[in-house]
């Protein structure tokens, strides 16, 4: 059998399309036995440090918010992992705190030789930025050094 993609990186964000992407990757993995890594970036939830003074924005609150977005991210990864587990497949999950999705995709593809990146066509990721700069998917299409599958 021909194995077209051996190592797949799946970007998720909790959106409907990202969920479809996970389903599609599970099918691919089932058919071809590819290695799959799933990641979720919470970089956009972070408020840049120094945006507020301590009086207007207490450090504890900042930490709470950071904790909350981490927990939500981890939960999302576990939920997505479940899609694969139910089909008897195993995947690696990663929570990315310090890189935007398109940046993480570019560096990890280069460092770890993924041969396919899969993502949903329209995500939840920072709606305002999408209007200003284009969607994460169009940025990935432009910058990813490997094949990209955009799932509707």
């Amino acid at each position: 059998m021909i194995i077209i993609y051996k190592k797949i990186l799946l970007a998720i964000d909790g959106s409907f399309h990202a969920n479809n992407a996970a389903e599609q990757v599970a099918e691919i993995q089932k058919k071809w036995g590819s290695k799959v890594v799933i990641f979720h970036s919470i970089k956009h939830h972070k408020i840049p440090r120094g945006t507020f003074t301590n009086e207007s924005f207490p450090v504890e609150l900042y930490r709470d918010m950071e904790e909350a977005s981490k927990k939500a991210g981890e939960l999302l990864l576990i939920e997505t992992q479940e899609i694969f587990k139910q089909k008897g497949l195993s995947v690696e999950t990663r929570l990315i705190e310090d890189d935007e999705p398109e940046v993480y995709i570019r560096t990890s593809v280069e460092q770890e030789n993924f041969d396919l990146v899969v993502l949903g066509s329209k995500g939840h990721h920072s709606q305002l930025k999408e209007i200003l700069l284009g969607t994460v998917s169009t940025k990935v299409v432009k910058s990813a050094p490997c094949d990209v599958l955009i799932v509707k």
Binding site: I4, Q24, G134, T138, P145, C146, D147, K152
Partner: protein
């Protein structure tokens, strides 16, 4: 992959040949229907026809009918050459030359009309450098208006 009906957009670029190779691999393992098209409906075509150009030995006569004829000839030749890649593997492919729609316009319309479930396209074609600069690559525009899954091949 679980795709049954694949539409592949091609041009003369190397990325586009790699895209064909991926589709051939898919077709071998999946037995899906494949339609391959090449569009000569560049957004810049009317522009080129109206701008005086030095064609070869200093002639400035280029009219749109002639230009269209040239594009058609080249397009059909390209489709025939790429069809051979499929035929060498004993695979069937339908080929189409698109005259008046840009690749992204054609993809958007035909995917819905004829129910394709995957569009395959090279990441950077040699399709109209000018419009790439102005509007982003064809791949980016296809992704933006994606009506089904899109595979971008590098």
């Amino acid at each position: 992959m679980i795709y049954k009906k694949i539409l592949i957009a091609i041009d003369e670029s190397n990325n586009s040949i790699r895209a064909i190779e991926k589709v051939i691999d898919l077709q071998k393992s999946e037995n899906c229907k494949v339609v391959m098209f090449h569009s000569i409906g560049h957004p810049t075509r009317p522009l080129i026809a109206t701008v005086p150009m030095a064609s070869g030995v200093g002639s400035f006569n280029i009219n749109e009918t002639e230009l269209l004829f040239e594009y058609k000839e080249a397009g059909n030749k390209l489709l025939l050459a790429r069809q051979k890649l499929f035929n060498n593997e004993e695979l069937a492919v339908e080929k189409r030359l698109i005259l008046d729609e840009t690749p992204e316009e054609y993809i958007e319309r035909i995917v819905e009309e004829q129910g394709f479930d995957l569009v395959v396209i090279g990441s950077k074609g040699i399709h109209s450098k000018l419009s790439q600069f102005l509007l982003g690559s064809v791949a980016q525009r296809v992704v933006k208006h994606a009506v089904c899954d899109v595979l971008i091949v590098r």
